[in-house]
Symmetry: C2
């Protein structure tokens, strides 16, 4: 036996929703699609799963191709498989979402795709079902970040509490009381205060913090409660 009989084979693609935070707003990285159909239109970065390659590997490869980055946070989101989602040919797309430190991203690597960062409230019309993928990715990021220490993946190794709070506020589109925020964040014991300050944000400057890497890995599954009234979101 070399094949299953009378079954339909189809293409498998991977599409990546890549999140970044520039200090102002939460953004995703979009590219101009490189092939027909819809060539040149705005699209998520994606590609076909290759022989001998798992979907995870495909996602890692695609992410590296576009951003040059490895070892970033990457998680399978959902598999989109409506029969007509790609008009050319039946294609399943396994969507992944990635969280990267936007400052490590080097645009020049991938001029081929003319990538651009878009804030989430200004996402253009995307090909196929990619807008739906973005919507789902955003919802999952909000859901998960309310429960787990996830958003650190979007910041540099050293960051300040005001930067962290600003990130949370961007993700949830609201503002938090900074006294309660710092109390909650620090009570996780995930952060290690540094001796130096970041002077860019204010005259006084704000202390840098780093993640306690051991605790971070050990406590990733831990439930947080940083977002007040998360059930109302």
């Amino acid at each position: 036996m070399t094949q299953y009989q009378n079954q339909t084979r189809m293409l498998a693609a991977v599409d990546c929703i890549i999140f970044g935070f520039d200090g102002e707003s939460l953004k995703i990285l979009l590219v101009h699609r490189g092939i027909e159909p819809e060539k040149g239109k705005w699209s998520l970065m994606g590609g076909f799963v290759q022989p001998g390659e798992s979907p995870d590997h495909a996602a890692i490869r695609i992410l590296k191709t576009l951003t040059g980055l490895e070892g970033v946070y990457l998680e399978q989101l959902y598999t989109f498989g409506e029969p007509e989602r790609d008009p050319i040919e039946r294609t399943m797309s396994i969507a992944y979402f990635a969280l990267i430190d936007i400052h490590r991203y080097e645009k020049q690597l991938s001029d081929e795709y003319q990538p651009e960062w878009f804030p989430l409230n200004k996402i253009p019309r995307l090909i196929f079902d990619h807008n739906e993928m973005v919507k789902m990715a955003r919802a999952k990021l909000q859901y998960k970040a309310a429960l787990h220490p996830l958003l650190f993946e979007l910041l540099p190794k050293k960051f300040t509490l005001p930067q962290l709070q600003s990130l949370y506020e961007s993700v949830y589109g609201t503002s938090f009381d900074k006294r309660n925020f710092s109390r909650k964040v620090l009570s996780t014991n995930l952060l290690v205060k540094q001796e130096d300050k970041y002077k860019g944000g204010s005259k006084k400057g704000a202390y840098y913090y780093k993640l306690n890497a051991k605790k971070y890995k050990a406590n990733f599954q831990a439930f947080l409660n940083i977002i007040p009234n998360a059930h109302l979101l």
Copy 2:
């Protein structure tokens, strides 16, 4: 343009992890695989995604074929796509998990597959990566049920608080204080007390409850806190 060039096509399958609760323990429904390879071995119920059919539809179809049930809780779990996971031919499997009222399941419908219910601590060796799928499904059920009112899907329309608690205790492999449990469950206002009692469990009998269907649907996303110290699980 009718096809993408130089790409590998593959099969897409759906496999279902079907949970049920018989009052004693949490179980999953396994079948004897109907085709080669590994024909006759224990397996999750599955099948290939057909032309014109989405993965969701395939899962619904497969579930109905095996159990006769429609409209049950069904959720996409994860897509498994290791290149060698099926030795015959490259096949992606989109795993779904289902929660059914075990009493509505009618075995005779599907003698073809010789299905059997297995408690989670007695799952036999399954084909391919199906044991991994079961493990992931169980973890996700535990995770999700700690946050959302999900386990009602495993009970009949009318159920008692002791039955509900016993279900939660099965899912988490631990026991809860019944005073705290009933207080928390009732504080959601999702349950409506009935006038009649279930006399099977004790001499005194226990009041039946029904779900408030409206509130249940509206509050499904609401966070619960029924499981004490859920972060320690």
